[in-house]
């Protein structure tokens, strides 16, 4: 390997060639772990494979022979998404269970469309029951009593179904339950509506106010609806994300609230302590909690002028400073800040919408990339055939023109939507495939632009594609690639010289 010579050559070239060649060389070093090998740190060569390991006789010999007994393996992060449901079917705990595999059955039930719709209907029914119950709770009409009983029993039944659903999920996978926020919400709501009944059962009779409150929590069961429907989920998630990005804005708003509340207490001191009768808003600036509430009232632009006019009735209060305070807070807080919040919400929603559409364009790009790949493979194959034909027919001087001919004919042949063609037509159209060219039509991109457009998509393709190389070929490949970079750079320089020469000629 003539690596010792190359560093001298590289000084003549521009930065890009050197960086590309360096990148190739570092890839080589990385793949073959040359540094470790030269330091003598490890036997970088994989000398054994799995079959030798599994054979017990050979395995013993290996273990005795290799003094470090180290194994080098490479980890490839997998991109598969194995669902828990799929994994569960393979687990020993489920397959070799002594009793029936309840977790499998629980998972099946939970995923059944009928069950999900049934629970949704029950949530609706629960809401209706609650509404009717509220209406009837204070009647003394005797005939309504059976209806009340029926509603009560219905409510209990629905509660038991909800509990059953949670228990089913626990049977399916206990730990997965707690990882999802929607499940936590469900659990919280169900326990909250269960709490008053338990409390009554235990025997706590006092504190009826709290019991009433807890009973009211039944109403929260209707909120379970939010978790069910996908559209509502998307909206709630978008809202949470928007709020998260706006945390610092809210912190800034809180700082301003603090400033104006504290200032308000001092500015309106004489108003709070005034002896004038029937001042409407006298309690509004007495101390900091009241002042905070007043600042919020001003933020919502409610009765601010009435407050100001009331404050002006006190002669000791300086009109200039109080009106300056109110006007400044209105401008800053209510007009500017509120509109900044609106603006940030709109920006966030737009960003979320763009992201969602990005996913759609991502899959579209993948599709285009796979089409592009097919084109390339076909082109390459045809190129090889064209070359072989040319070699057989003519002398040994292989011109690149042949490959171009077959490539362009190939592209004309393809029925894909992307027709790529070079805008300049080759000179000798000897082979019969040429006339199928869709040639010379303006507006179609040439090969390089097409490559640039699609290369990114090709690189980002999600395939777990692996290529198996023979080891020495890979080393030789990297070596050649590095040398190729230098030569390409040299050619570029020569091209520039040629262009300059041509221009000079034209000028003279």
């Amino acid at each position: 390997m003539k690596s010792a010579e190359l560093p001298e050559v590289s000084e003549n070239f521009g930065p890009t060639a050197v960086t590309r060649a360096d990148a190739v060389r570092s890839r080589l070093i990385d793949t073959f772990s040359l540094i470790d090998h030269f330091r003598g740190l490890s036997q970088a060569v994989p000398r054994h494979n799995l079959r030798e390991f599994l054979d017990p006789a050979r395995q013993r010999k290996l273990m005795l022979g290799d003094q470090h007994q180290l194994v080098r393996f490479s980890i490839r992060p997998g991109h598969n998404r194995i669902l828990f449901a799929q994994r569960q079917q393979c687990r020993l705990r489920v397959r070799c269970n002594r009793w029936a595999p309840i977790s499998l059955w629980a998972g099946w039930v939970l995923r059944k469309r009928i069950f999900i719709n049934f629970v949704n209907c029950l949530i609706f029914l629960n809401t209706i029951f609650l509404m009717v119950e509220i209406e009837l709770v204070n009647t003394t009409n005797v005939r309504m009593l059976p209806i009340m009983m029926a509603l009560e029993v219905g409510s209990w039944f629905i509660l038991f179904i909800f509990i059953l659903e949670i228990v089913l999920f626990w049977l399916y996978n206990f730990f997965l339950f707690w990882k999802s926020a929607w499940n936590l919400f469900d659990f919280f709501v169900t326990t909250l509506s269960l709490l008053p009944e338990i409390v009554v059962l235990v025997g706590v009779t006092g504190e009826s106010v709290w019991l009433q409150l807890l009973r009211i929590c039944r109403v929260l069961r209707s909120l379970k609806l939010f978790a069910r429907f996908r559209q509502i989920r998307v909206i709630i998630l978008a809202l949470v994300r928007a709020l998260k990005t706006m945390t610092f804005l809210l912190v800034l708003l809180l700082i301003f609230f603090y400033i104006f509340a504290l200032t308000g207490v001092y500015f309106f001191e004489s108003y709070s302590r005034s002896d004038i009768q029937d001042l409407e808003y006298q309690m509004y600036f007495t101390d900091v909690p009241n002042s905070l509430v007043t600042v919020f009232i001003l933020f919502t632009l409610d009765h601010w002028y009435a407050l100001l006019q009331d404050a002006w009735r006190v002669p000791a209060l300086s009109k200039a400073f109080s009106s300056l305070y109110v006007i400044l807070w209105l401008l800053l807080g209510s007009i500017i800040f509120r509109n900044i919040i609106v603006a940030m919400m709109v920006t966030n929603f737009q960003a979320i919408r763009n992201e969602l559409s990005e996913e759609a364009t991502h899959s579209e790009m993948q599709h285009k990339a796979s089409i592009f790949k097919r084109q390339i493979i076909k082109r390459r194959l045809n190129q090889k055939d064209g070359e072989k034909a040319k070699v057989r027919s003519s002398s040994g001087h292989i011109t690149p023109q042949t490959s171009y001919h077959s490539a362009s004919s190939l592209t004309g042949d393809m029925s894909q939507s992307e027709n790529l063609v070079k805008t300049s037509v080759p000179k000798d159209l000897s082979t019969p495939q040429e006339y199928r060219l869709s040639s010379d039509s303006p507006g179609l991109v040439d090969w390089e632009t097409h490559v640039h457009q699609n290369l990114h998509g090709l690189m980002e393709m999600d395939q777990d594609e692996r290529v198996v190389w023979p080891r020495d070929s890979l080393f030789r490949y990297f070596e050649l690639l590095e040398k190729l970079q230098y030569n390409i750079e040299e050619r570029k320089q020569l091209q520039e010289f040629a262009v300059k020469a041509l221009i000079n000629l034209k000028d003279n």
Partner: protein
């Protein structure tokens, strides 16, 4: 060794080590934690001081704590000025610090100069609440937010000016129509200031029905048209336009800001990569000698498989690369033909091109 402190320091500082030490201290975590806790404690104390009973009870403690806070702020001012006397004034947050120190000393001087019964004393105490603004430089998120939104200030200012002009016109109009005569509504339109307030009340559509009722009682015929027209113009058109303009500017400035951050990060990552690459190259060229590499190459066997997932070793990449090179070769050969036609001297490029295509072929063969 203490160098000269002050705005007229020598261009070459003699106390570089001390300066660097102080600078490291300022940018360290201890200092920022100290400042944040001081400012928060100060804010809490100010809240407690509003309550008369607490203030009476803990009077001495508050006095001592006040002196402590003042000294901490002055200390911060002094050491920041020491580190960079001239560059100190260019940073907006440092100017804010100076303003707050001035504000801090206002009540004291007021009391000294004007006595204890000056009516504007509570104003001086009121603006002490601005001290909490000192927290902003120590919080990265708020700083970025303010930088991102700073661009919108120009828009805000221009819209506000427009609104003020419009209100001015309508105030004069309203004064002449409703407030100039004796039978007019002097309470709301009597002089220009009150007229402005009335119009502002109409813009924020709060309690405007009462104002309109006042005008109706006096029997002005055109008052309704005037009020409704101004509300449409001021509240609906102007405030909505305000919202729209702010939305667009916020979007633009945030996008630009994020792009800047992204670029910075990208450049930093690239720089890191270059450094790592360079180190690797140096190490390898140090270790690599001709014999070693040849020896390594001898250990490579054709039957050993290497499984790779890199893009540069995949077949599509090789296909694309070689096809692109073919096209470039084609361009050159065409160019050479043109040269032939024009009768130019042949370049040495042909020979290089041959070697280049030879290398390409050898890649294909090995494949």
């Amino acid at each position: 060794m203490v160098g000269t402190i002050g705005i007229f320091a020598l261009p070459m500082r003699k106390d570089t080590e001390c300066c660097a030490y102080v600078k490291r201290f300022i940018e360290g975590r201890v200092f920022s934690v100290l400042m944040i806790s001081t400012i928060s404690l100060n804010a809490l104390c100010m809240v407690l001081q509003t309550n008369y009973d607490i203030r009476n009870y803990l009077f001495l403690i508050f006095e001592v704590v006040e002196v402590l806070f003042m000294s901490v702020y002055c200390f911060e001012f002094c050491i920041k000025l020491y580190v960079d006397p001239l560059g100190y004034w260019k940073n907006g947050y440092n100017l804010l610090n100076v303003v707050i120190i001035i504000i801090l000393s206002v009540p004291f001087y007021m009391r000294k100069l004007f006595g204890r019964h000056y009516p504007y004393l509570n104003i001086g105490e009121g603006i002490q609440s601005l001290r909490i603004l000192k927290l902003i430089p120590y919080s990265r998120g708020i700083r970025t937010l303010i930088t991102a939104l700073g661009q919108t200030i120009c828009t805000v200012a221009s819209v506000m000016t427009l609104l003020f002009l419009m209100m001015f016109i309508f105030a004069i109009l309203g004064f002449c129509l409703f407030g100039s005569t004796d039978a007019g509504d002097l309470n709301n339109w009597g002089n220009l200031a009150v007229a402005f307030f009335t119009l502002f009340s109409l813009t924020t559509v709060d309690g405007w029905t009462d104002l309109q009722k006042d005008l109706d009682e006096r029997g002005f015929t055109l008052s309704r048209a005037f009020t409704i027209f101004f509300i449409l113009l001021g509240s609906f058109v102007f405030l909505s336009m305000f919202v729209g303009v702010m939305i667009i500017h916020t979007e633009d400035s945030i996008k630009k800001f994020e792009k800047e951050l992204e670029d910075e990060r990208h450049v930093a990552v690239l720089q890191e990569k270059q450094n790592i690459l360079k180190k690797q190259q140096e190490e390898v060229s140090r270790l690599m000698q001709k014999g070693l590499v040849e020896g390594f190459k001898k250990t490579l066997r054709h039957s050993d498989p290497m499984v790779l997932e890199d893009f540069c070793t995949t077949l599509p990449f090789i296909d694309i690369y070689l096809s692109t090179l073919d096209n470039q070769d084609n361009t050159i050969s065409k160019y050479i033909e043109i040269e032939d036609d024009l009768g130019l001297p042949k370049l040495r490029g042909k020979g290089k091109e041959g070697e280049h295509s030879r290398q390409r072929k050898s890649i294909e063969r090995h494949w």
